[in-house]
Amino acid sequence: MSDPMQEIMASFFIECEELHESLVDALQALADGDADVETINVAFRAVHSIKGGAGAFGLDDLVNFAHQFETVMDACRSGDLAMDDPLNSLFLRCSDVLSDLIRCSRDGEPIDTAMSGGLIEELAAYVSSDNEGGAEPEEEIDFQPMTLDLGELGGPGDDMAVDLPSLDDLPPINLDFPSTSPGLLVEFRPDRELYESGNEPLFLIKTLADLGPCQTTVTLDPPKSIEDLKNLGGRLSWSILVETVSQPDAVAEIFEFTDGLCQLNVTPQQDAEPDAVISELTEETTPVVTPQADDIPTAAPPAPAETSKANPIDSPSTKRSESKPAKASPTVRVDLERIERLVNLVGELVINQAMLSQSIAQEDIPPNSPVSAGLDEFMQLTRNIQESVMMIRAQPVKSLFQRMSRIVRESSAAIDKRVRLVTDGETTEIDKTAIERLADPLTHMIRNAVDHGLENAATRRERGKNEQGEIRLSAAHRSGRVVIEVADDGGGIDREKVRAKAIEKGLIAEDAALSESETDQLLFLPGFSTATEVSSLSGRGVGMDVVRTQISSLGGRVSIESSPGVGTTFSISLPLTLAVLDGMVITVAGETLVIPLNAIVETLSLAVDDLRTVAEGQKVLRVREQFVSVLDLGTELGYRAQIPVEEGTIALLISPEEGVLVALLVDTIEDQRQVVIKGMQESYGRVPGVAAATILGDGQIALILDPNDLIQNSSGDDVVILQKKAS
């Protein structure tokens, strides 16, 4: 790890991920038709930056592919090639392969050229038929950080006009321009940042030469005083007269990467008189100091992420100011382990604070004493710290959704269905760990939706649906949990088929009477697969039971909703944070328990008349004009037999779903406080109705209930029964 190159490469690959993300975003915007002028530029810059970085590390396969990709994209960018659906889908496939290539390069895996080869040809087909327009992209650019040979230019001296010798080596320009071409005068003065970010003016000028024959003059500004030496800045300026018919935007495009890093002035020339221009230029230039030679080699690695977010190009021929590109708020990459540590420490802090407040409460200190006031402040601070720490871990689900759009593309192509993925709520933030661990189950669910959920085109036509199937992937915060839904507009679950399959596999008895939802639950049984023929997508030995296990290891649940002919929706519901929650501390049958505060709608003190018996042992509670089913928490948890309800018994109203209320009877409410979640899954396994455990101020463990799970298991024992049958 001591190899600095390794570190630079590691950061390059992280940047690649970000760039790839913005590429996919842009391409998706193009596909959805909500792109603007800048969108294709964003995509182009992303690929270009990946190519640039890859070149510096000698990742030739990656460079070649990115180059071809970029070439076609550049043609689109300049308007020579119209974006259409096939092209867009090609771009999307290319971006998939690009991400594979990046991954292979990163992991040092051998690169399968067959993978990219076909696409390169497809891409090449686009440009070979087109490119008369002259917007030929740059030749292979070697991004090897290199410095200008400042030594040759000497120290502070007279104004110098140096012809760049290397321009002679440029390939002959084969474009046939009328000799009376008006030409453009490009005045280019790089700022110090341009050198620091590893840009090479020579390449820019070379590219400029592609537009037409150039007359180039370089000027070195001498420092006027010793003070100027301190103000480091670009001291070289170029004045280039290009004989071209191109519009000033063509020049602006070449220089777009240097946006904000230089002063650029493009003026159309009617009558080329470079000498006059130069003299004028040298007169007005203000002296600045040459970038110190040793500044440049140590310069930071190129920051392509930043340039990719650069502002749209201003109209050409406006004088560029030194204004920096609008920066996204600066970020720091932190090792996840450090964050974990911080989260754990904050957890301990919260427990400690609970202990402290408990002992202060026992001391009978008056509430207006400084100690109490200090404690209040301390609690406030703890809460702020805890919230901030949690926010560090939270990340938008966007990256996850992007991966899923690829799964949809690939899986729909494999079985020749046309599928559109609609995503919603990409900015919903969930814990990073959860994002990573959701990828597998979601992939499986998406594949299922494409393969089994959606009908084939012919059936869809018959049913009067759009031939293109739709899969909707959405994320949202709902009552303290994150709900991620995968919905298809397919045929719905064929319950007859599911049932037949379950009987055939011996999972249920032939005469088992199952409700619709019970039948749906069969899908989660191990070894269940309804696909009558095993297609290339399904039959991989991973079933919905694995999905369910993976989700529940995150403390989440999966549920199915399906209606025949309309579609199927799988919902994953996950806890919002993984470490701390606001809870109500209650007791029941002598046990102290914590109920998440956000699950509680209301607390009530019962009057005996409020309760009505509807059936043997089943009571309902009248809350205002609504009847609510009643569960005795002690009985549900198996702590005691049902006890008669007395006057003043406390009931907590819980809403497991929209519009549904359930009353939980408890003995006392002790407190309302923040508790630190301690997992029990690893050491013990899942306890029905219990989400996790926590440690109270007195060192005792209290269980944190999962009221929804509790209610579901009590009202529908079916799930448990089915699991027993399976095992």
């Binding site: 301690k678 050491s683 306890v687 029905p688």
Partner: protein
């Protein structure tokens, strides 16, 4: 703690000796391999778990982590006794699963070589918990198979 199977450490000279922690439940003496034992601590009140099998006493706070405690007497099908302060919890670590075992009292550390151990006669259903038997000073010591003793996920998740 040293590994007793190391011949140089084993003082009795017999090769392949292993050390065991022996403890008492009622009148019976049991032992577990000492390498599985992480610590021994006094009895503290447990928080009971809903729907847990009867032999799972509940969970305790072991320096900030949640430790499930198995009542070994109930697990082995012995008579139930009410926990008292003199009882101890042996914290064991088997294949990175950490659990507590409630026993009456810890008695000794013993060394046995494999040839001193006999397989238990296959008589009762509970015998799967006992891996071997041995005689020490006229007392019978049962060696427990911890992997069997600790409840499997299937057992607790019902």
């Amino acid at each position: 703690m040293t590994v007793a199977s190391d011949p140089q450490v084993s003082e009795t000279g017999a090769t392949g000796e292993t050390e065991y922690l022996s403890f008492r439940i009622g009148e019976n003496e049991y032992s577990v391999e000492i390498m599985s034992v992480r610590e021994i601590r006094g009895w503290t009140r447990t928080t009971s778990l809903p729907h847990a099998p009867d032999f799972v006493r509940g969970v305790i706070n072991l320096r900030g982590t949640v430790l499930p405690v198995v009542d070994l007497a109930l697990r082995l099908g012995l008579e139930e006794t009410e926990p008292e302060d003199r009882n101890v919890i042996i914290v064991v670590d088997v294949e990175s699963r950490v659990m507590g075992l409630r026993v009456d009292a810890v008695s000794d550390i013993l060394s046995f070589s494999p040839d001193q151990l006999q397989p238990p006669p296959e008589m009762t259903s509970k015998s799967r918990f006992v891996r071997a038997l041995t005689i020490l000073d006229d007392r019978m010591v049962r060696l427990l198979d911890l992997e069997e003793v600790l409840p499997s996920n299937k057992e607790v998740a019902a």
